[in-house]
């Protein structure tokens, strides 16, 4: 699996979305499943999947799928 596929999977798992749900354009709180509670589980899922530890500011900034891609780049995970 590519990094991009792994990140999409992490989003679907954490937000409890169907296996084929498109996630690349998801934004925090635009999708009803991505609320503040799900956000913490999303962060934990991404941390486990990519073996990183995300800082507080980045947890707050992770407001869309695209932001997650950018932030993971800071931790040396090249999502493409």
């Amino acid at each position: 699996m590519t990094e991009l596929q792994r990140l999409r999977e992490a989003f679907r798992t954490a937000l409890d979305l169907p296996a084929d749900a498109p996630v690349d354009d998801l934004r925090y709180q635009d999708n009803e499943k991505w609320d503040s509670l799900a956000h913490m589980s999303l962060v934990a899922t991404i941390e486990d999947e990519f073996s990183v530890m995300i800082d507080t500011d980045d947890v707050i900034d992770m407001s869309s799928f695209k932001e997650a891609v950018r932030i993971l780049g800071k931790y040396g995970v090249d999502v493409k």
Binding site: D35, M40, A44, I54, D55, T56, D57, I60, S63
Partner: protein
């Protein structure tokens, strides 16, 4: 990276400027607020204490917002003791900013890394994810600063000793975060740690929620700190904040015993009869000011809490140091909101 940096003079100059601008903005965009200010005869302020305040209770009776309906992103509610509910309206920008400022404030004592975290509460708090209580929302907000969270209480509200032991085995030898409401921390963490010999010496405790229940048990804030240090918990930070000024918290400094104001906020203590500002050492009614309320006129609020300023620019962090002493007895608070109700 601290938000406790400005001396009182620098802070007041900056706040006067920003809060005056906010006052004008809210007048132009919130009709009931403008009506209140017209009735009060406000013509501008030459000091922070001259800015026009709203009694915090007004958010329970009036819809106060400075943004169009279609820009409302979140409505926060708090239930008061009487069952009245404050409604606070945030747009996207205000919601994001309050979270950033809260994070910056808490990171002053935690640093940028998320720490393993004990939540002194029960997951049952979040069962209905559509409507959390104020307590649930507080716990969830704080959980952002932690990772590998463990709940100290099980679904029935009983202490989960196995979970706590497991957490300490895994994380107890490095800094970890503990968050909870003051009374729950006392009852469900301190007493349990004491009884079972749990080592909390690497913990950093952040707690809030008022002292009333503890004082009923004859536990003063000083006693609380002293007893917690007995189970190794020496890094302890109480905070004071309210939903009507979401994102702004007044945080107890490393020295303990006083709350400090972040750079974007301040407190004024007022005589409850004359409304005049009181000097350090004199207890009175607490007014809280903050530049964060941009979507509703909550930037200058008179609370129903009593407080006292202990000193100015004389503590571990600059600015005012103060304590909250408890709630103003209900009858005494009536005068001020009645004035405003007739004006509104």
């Amino acid at each position: 990276m601290s938000v406790f940096t400005l001396s009182q003079a620098d802070k007041e100059a900056r706040l006067l400027d920003e809060l005056s601008t906010l006052t004008d903005f809210h007048r132009a965009n919130c009709e009931p607020y403008d009506r209140i200010l017209r009735a009060s005869g406000y013509q501008g302020a030459s000091g922070v204490a001259e800015l026009p305040w709203l009694p915090v209770r007004l958010f329970k009776t009036l819809e106060l917002k400075s943004i169009p309906d279609d820009e409302v992103f979140k409505v926060l509610t708090s239930s008061g003791t009487t069952g009245d509910v404050s409604k606070i309206y945030l747009d996207k920008a205000a919601a994001a900013e309050q979270q950033r400022r809260l994070a910056a404030t808490v990171q002053t004592v935690l640093g940028p890394k998320r720490l393993p975290m004990i939540l002194v509460d029960t997951r049952a708090m979040l069962k209905d994810r559509r409507s959390f209580s104020a307590r649930g929302a507080g716990v969830l907000g704080m959980s952002t600063f932690g990772r590998d969270h463990v709940w100290a209480l099980d679904m029935d509200g009983q202490v989960d000793l196995a979970a706590l032991r497991g957490f300490l085995e895994k994380h107890g030898d490095q800094p970890f975060l503990i968050f909870g409401f003051t009374f729950l921390v006392w009852l469900h963490l301190y007493e349990v740690a004491l009884e079972h010999g749990l080592d909390l010496s690497n913990g950093i405790l952040i707690h809030s929620g008022g002292w009333k229940k503890l004082i009923d048990q004859a536990v003063s804030p000083e006693e609380f700190r002293k007893r917690l240090s007995g189970v190794g918990l020496t890094r302890v930070h109480n905070y004071y904040g309210m939903v009507e000024q979401i994102g702004t918290i007044f945080l107890e400094g490393p020295d303990g015993g006083s709350l400090y104001c972040p750079d974007f906020a301040d407190v004024v203590v007022r005589d409850p009869e004359t409304w005049a500002e009181l000097p350090p050492g004199k207890p009175g009614l607490l007014e809280v000011v903050s530049t964060l309320p941009t979507s509703y006129p909550g930037h200058v609020l008179l609370t129903e809490d009593l407080g006292v300023v202990h000193g100015i620019d004389d503590g571990e962090w600059p600015g005012k140091r103060f304590s909250v002493l408890g709630r103003l007895p209900r009858a005494e608070a009536r005068g001020c909101s009645d004035t405003y109700r007739s004006a509104a």
